[in-house]
Symmetry: C2
Subunit: 388 residues, 2 copies
């Protein structure tokens, strides 16, 4: 096991109607709060009204800031920073999924910083302080409601970069599974793919002995696979939505990979697809992960065989490790296909003429990405070709 | 899934030699700290010297308070409270296992309270404030290093009661797996039994649908069962000790049972054995759990069958659920026996003449204990008889 520090301070408030308590949660932090969200479903469903009502009842003044889109944009972040400064905002409340939360975290970093907030994402500067953030999660998958991550797209040059910093771990996150009842099937499927991909990134590790977290991750993956057909069949079943929501959170809050290195190369590669072609992140992961697996399979056949036998129910009898690994990769792709997600770039109508550019951007200023297997420029291009 | 709040704020500092950083961890909280511990191994191994050195290097004055024993005593707690008041102590540092930590939490509750600290344990009063606590874990098992629990024995009337309160969640816990190298085999085995019993208490639930946490708990139980023979064979293997330590912490910090009710009747019953006969808690759990299982088996045969097939590798083919449940209970007892623990009261030389008194004390002021199956006085006596 590797040395690690672990602290997961986000207060989770989980259950039916819990968004009605948001005023009580925000009040200790600020008297004036930015509500950052996107889409009209919050207004149509009356959710926004209830949130505003709860805040006002606790003596908190809400300032509305609509405009979040999937793959959240730097331009919107900058608009939010300006609004916070103008209004004297003391706390950011994100309402939505990963995009709203990541955008809110970026605003929280930018408000007290004199320079360009993008500096934090390109690594040019390190944040020293940030406004505090809370969330009301409506679209699970990203895990951003309990994570220290924020990923933003800069439309100016089609780059998509992330930051990990304890300053932006949410103070609280309100998780009401009823919010999932109105998630369209495609976004539900993308969320499931995102959750499984967060688990894969952690499962594929160069750390040699991690008995407990291997078992935890396998349990979590089994849960996604067991839940997926149930929730796609009955998307308004409260119990299924509750499991979906909690799976998303726990799979990305650091508890499943404490003491082991994670990979994250597939995420870096997918971000370039999302940045150029505005693909939903989870849907992009469903395309990239099987291709990544094919490319890196030989690095640790035992790991692939273990995944196949313990999580995907592949019978190892009479099969070589190589055969089991191939069946495992096929099972992963089949699972994503069972969610009605595209599993090739061609099916997703992603052109093949900018792979070199994507590889360069995925690498950023590094020579290689990934920890299970270090990937150089040519590896990334090869993976993108395998994804066609 | 049940509604829940979850917050796990303890900062975990995990790795080789991390106790040497304790001064940096304590300094933000206080300039004068009580070091509460027991046994002479800390002095013999030079651990105490290094801790004192780290504190002094950070400008923190340590006040030593030895005297913790297994099943920590109220009299020692009261002595510690008096010492803290006399010395103007601002922070309690527990060094040891569950006993040192639980005793430290009790002192932390008692210092700012004008009444008798035992009031909090009998439920006569609710704490409003407490000193803050940090821990250096040397004997894993209890999970107290990240939990809100403290359990204390009152020698005056042989009662053992616990309190659960967010005030006493440790601010930090330093986990150096090397500390496990010198744990005697019996205490290692008791720790493993305690961890598994914490998982069982959570697994046996009346909550109807908890797909994800079932899978997580099964993964955690599989990990204990896989680890036990390895670590008993090679107790100074760093990797095994690291898994042992982290398993103990995660199995009792609330993450594995968020959204599900836990049982805890077996723990209540075992506490009465420990209180009267000074049995080590984990060793007592190895005796009580198989007996409890026999008594409550019919409540939910499916749950027992699932445990047996998914965790203990029992082949369900051609067997009734009742047969699978019986084999599961036998497998549990066999596992505890494989740790060289006694699995009957007779073997542990516990007399059989005070079962009525133990049942009454276990009930306390309730009519029944347990949530998977509510146990009245006669049930508890029946379980104790099954444990003979």
């Amino acid at each position: 096991m590797e040395d690690f520090n672990f602290c997961s301070r986000t207060k989770i408030v989980f259950g039916r109607g819990k968004e009605n308590e948001v005023g009580l949660q925000v009040k200790p932090f600020a008297d004036k709060v930015l509500l950052h969200y996107g889409g009209d479903y919050l207004e149509k469903n009356g959710i926004l009204d209830r949130i505003v009502g709860s805040l006002k009842a606790s003596g908190v003044e809400p300032v509305l800031f609509d405009g979040v889109v999937p793959n959240p944009r730097l331009s919107v972040v900058k608009e939010g920073i300006a609004l916070c400064r103008k209004e004297g905002i003391g706390f950011i409340l994100a309402i939505g999924g990963g995009s709203a939360i990541d955008s809110s975290k970026a605003i929280a970093l930018g408000v007290p910083y004199e320079g360009d907030v993008w500096d934090f994402y390109t690594g040019k500067a390190e944040p020293e302080t940030a406004l505090k953030v809370g969330t009301i999660l409506t679209i699970p998958g990203s895990g951003s409601e309990m994570s220290e991550s924020s990923i933003i797209t800069n439309e100016a040059d089609d780059t998509k970069y992330g930051i990990d910093n304890a300053l932006i771990v949410p103070e609280f996150s309100i998780l009401n599974p009823e919010m999932c009842f109105t998630i369209p099937p495609f976004f539900m499927a993308s969320g499931l793919a995102d959750i499984l991909s967060h688990q894969f990134e952690r499962y594929f590790t160069p750390t040699k002995f991690c008995l407990f977290s291997d078992h935890l991750l396998e349990g979590a993956m089994q849960a996604v696979i067991a839940l997926a057909p149930k929730i796609l069949e009955a998307p308004q079943n409260y119990d299924y939505c509750a499991e979906f929501m909690w799976l998303a959170t726990i799979s990305h809050n650091g508890v499943l990979d404490a003491g082991r290195q994670s990979d994250w190369a597939s995420h870096r590669i997918e971000h370039e697809i999302s940045a150029l072609y505005d693909i939903t992140h989870g849907a992009g992961m469903a395309i990239i992960f099987p291709a990544w697996m094919k490319h890196v399979k030989s690095t640790d056949l035992d790991r692939f065989a273990r995944l196949g036998t313990r999580v995907f129910g592949i019978d190892p009898n009479g099969r070589s490790k190589d055969e089991i690994a191939d069946l495992t990769i096929k099972a992963v792709a089949d699972f994503f296909a069972s969610l009605n997600l595209k599993i090739s770039l061609a099916d997703a109508k992603v052109p093949t003429d900018r792979f070199d550019e994507m590889a360069s951007k995925a690498l950023g200023r590094s020579d290689a990405i990934g920890r299970f297997r270090k990937l150089a420029h040519d590896d990334i291009v090869a993976i993108l070709k395998l994804a066609v």
